[in-house]
């Protein structure tokens, strides 16, 4: 018996034939896709608005909000177009999709508001709102596993965000003790006469820990692999590429405020959390037998790299910005491709998927490119970002951290390659037809791959300047 036939025997029935092209896509999906594309265009147009605040100081326009807004909206538009494509391929979804689309639309709107908020508390409230909007997206499949994962996600997120809120209360207490006016508007906080007393340090530490929970940093990471594994791939893409960046923006804002007064505040904490997360994630990658779970641990690994870079500041800050942008695109490519793979093979097990490049040429190609970028190979932006962060570690003479960083990267590289390369180049499974792929389903992934290559090979001057401004705001040079 050949390995291919063994594989074939172990698998459920092949995917049903694609639907006729004439099947109409529900209006809710069309409206969602159109809205997401419009949001992406509006985010791009924000480049024309000068720095400052709008709407009576409610909205902040600066390099950081511009970058994160474009990032989440471009990815959001790609995911919306993917949903359109899925409805073409699987018209039976039409009966169930309205709820998902409604929650996803709310999720994107709240994400945008969180990024644009000039008030830390309001930004926090919008991030919490994205969490609540994500719950129905995660439990969409209605299985016991998805319900459990959604619950775990809600509990951990609630706990993490409660810690952030407690941190804000500590910051307010610190300002009051110092006799300063208490305001959570970004500029006021940056200008405040903080004394750096115990309350201030405690507040910053709690906010870092809380936002770290949303990013999947150790110690409160247990929700992430379960949720990414059990949620539909489109939901996972939203969580990994949109929500994690909104949470990261919250962390970046806190670091920006902390570093106005003390350039090294929370450096040690961020680096320690980052290294611990990378080590845990590497072990998780080794033992993963399901590809979405593996990608979940890889996301944790990336969060660890970002935390280390943010902790370092200096030269590494630019690397963090490049890495964050690349990462959002990589996750979108990989999770959306994983959705296509799951729909085709009817399995989430790594051992059941083989020969992607032959069986699913487009998705296989995207999965391959995404995996290369995930592993930090040149010429992708993730390679550039990791290299800059590593040079930052050497520059700061943190050789022990450097060794741990390099070791964790090597382990996750080998473990990821060992699992994913056979999926891409292994023997293809007989009996499964090549499905017809609607143009709309592959368009976003083509755009994502182009972006990914551009970040690594050539960044236009204006965008590079934007990257540098964001890096400078978190202590970069």
């Amino acid at each position: 018996m050949t390995s291919a036939s063994t594989l074939s025997g172990a698998l459920p029935a092949p995917a049903p034939a694609p639907a006729p092209a004439s099947t109409p896509v529900p209006w809710s999906v069309v409206a969602f896709a159109a809205g997401a594309v419009l949001l992406a265009m509006a985010a791009g147009a924000l480049a024309l608005v000068p720095d400052g605040t709008l709407l009576n100081g409610t909205v902040v326009v600066d390099a950081t909000s511009r970058l994160f807004l474009v990032l989440i909206d471009v990815v959001g538009a790609g995911i919306a177009l993917y949903i359109w494509g899925r409805l073409h391929a699987e018209p039976r979804l039409a009966e169930y999709i309205a709820g998902w689309v409604g929650a996803a639309a709310l999720f994107l709107v709240f994400s945008n508001l969180a990024v644009l908020s000039n008030h830390l508390l309001l930004g926090w409230a919008f991030l919490e709102a994205t969490t609540l909007a994500a719950v129905p997206l995660i439990r969409f499949r209605g299985t016991k596993a998805s319900l459990d994962a959604a619950w775990r996600y809600l509990v951990f997120s609630g706990l993490g965000l409660a810690l952030v809120f407690l941190g804000f209360a500590c910051l307010a207490r610190s300002l009051e003790t110092a006799g300063a006016a208490v305001s959570f508007e970004l500029e006021s906080l940056a200008r405040a006469r903080a004394t750096g007393d115990g309350w201030w340090r405690l507040g910053i530490a709690l906010t870092v820990l809380g936002y770290g929970t949303k990013l999947g940093l150790v110690p409160m990471f247990a929700w992430l692999p379960d949720t990414y594994d059990s949620a539909p791939p489109a939901t996972t893409s939203l969580l990994a590429a949109v929500q994690s960046n909104v949470a990261l923006l919250g962390l970046v804002r806190v670091v920006q405020i902390a570093r106005v007064h003390d350039s090294d505040l929370v450096s040690f904490e961020l680096i320690a959390l980052g290294v611990a997360t990378m080590v845990v994630a590497s072990f998780g990658i080794i033992v993963s037998t399901r590809y979405k779970r593996l990608l979940g641990y890889a996301s944790m690994n990336h969060a660890g790299v970002i935390a280390i870079g943010l902790g370092l500041g200096g030269e590494a800050a630019y690397g963090v910005v490049v890495y964050v942008v690349s990462n959002a695109v990589i996750k979108a490519i990989l999770f959306l491709s994983a959705g296509k793979i799951q729909a085709h093979y009817r399995s989430e097990e790594i051992k059941d998927v083989s020969g992607l490049v032959k069986q699913l040429p487009y998705s296989g190609l995207f999965f391959m490119v995404g995996t290369f970028a995930l592993l930090g190979l040149p010429p992708f932006g993730s390679f550039v970002g990791e290299l800059i962060i590593m040079s930052g570690l050497v520059g700061r003479e943190l050789f022990v951290v450097f060794v741990a960083f390099a070791a964790a990267l090597t382990v996750s590289f080998v473990a990821t390659g060992r699992s994913m390369f056979p999926m891409i180049w292994g023997t293809s499974r007989p009996g499964l037809d090549r499905p017809r792929i609607p143009f709309l389903a592959v368009l976003p992934k083509f755009i994502f791959v182009a972006l990914l290559l551009a970040i690594g090979l050539y960044v236009p001057t204006s965008i590079n300047e934007l990257f540098r401004q964001v890096a400078a705001s978190v202590g970069g040079r």
Partner: protein, 207 residues
């Protein structure tokens, strides 16, 4: 220790040893009411911001959220006995230890000061630690809900020491989020009970 803080401590500790969901819900309601009482005691003048804050504490946390939980749990026929922490001597000793830790922290950390007495800080820290303890020791969704809502109330108690009031729109947004969170919790209780299972796509129909 002031009277409301003393009652708050009793309300924090009682549901841990009685292990019924009714008493836990009553405990949350009392916590909200006590928070509102303390807020009134610190009120210098009634403004829109302070009125919204009072509504958040007294109405939302003290009445609406516990009432929603009570009605849903009654309708679901939830068994009376729901442990907040494991009902054994070890857990009760650990809970007592956390109370001691909180009081020692408040006295020795040097963080207490004007507007935030050591006792106030100690009670808020106790509430926070006991909330974490519940989350760390129980896996049942209902117990975890009680743990999370206790943490929310602990933060509200800590905030009471601050003279800072967020602007009305921000406070309204925070209250809205609190209510939406409670409703989401309730939706999980209903689904976990198996009483209502909205239509989901068949397993072979993948998004």
């Amino acid at each position: 220790m002031s009277l409301p803080l003393l009652i708050f401590m009793v309300v924090l500790l009682t549901p841990l040893v009685t292990a019924t969901w009714r008493l836990s819900v009553w405990g949350l309601a009392f916590q909200g009411g006590l928070l509102a009482w303390m807020a009134v005691g610190r009120l210098h003048e009634l403004s829109l911001d302070s009125a919204i804050a009072l509504g958040d504490l007294g109405l939302l946390r003290g009445l609406v959220a516990p009432l929603i939980l009570y009605l849903v749990l009654t309708r679901l026929g939830t068994p009376e006995r729901v442990e907040s922490i494991p009902a054994n001597l070890l857990s009760w000793t650990m809970a007592g230890g956390l109370v001691l830790v909180a009081f020692r922290f408040a006295q020795q950390s040097g963080l207490a000061g004007e507007g935030l007495g050591a006792t106030h800080l100690a009670v808020a820290t106790t509430a926070l630690l006991l909330g974490f303890f519940i989350l760390a020791t129980r896996r049942e969704p209902l117990s975890q809900i009680f743990g999370l809502l206790r943490i929310e109330n602990a933060i509200a108690l800590f905030e009471l020491a601050s003279a800072h009031e967020p602007p009305a729109p921000v406070r309204l947004a925070l209250s809205g989020i609190y209510l939406a969170t409670v409703l989401t919790f309730v939706s999980f209780l209903v689904r976990f009970s198996g009483r209502r299972n909205p239509s989901h796509p068949p397993e072979e129909v993948l998004l």
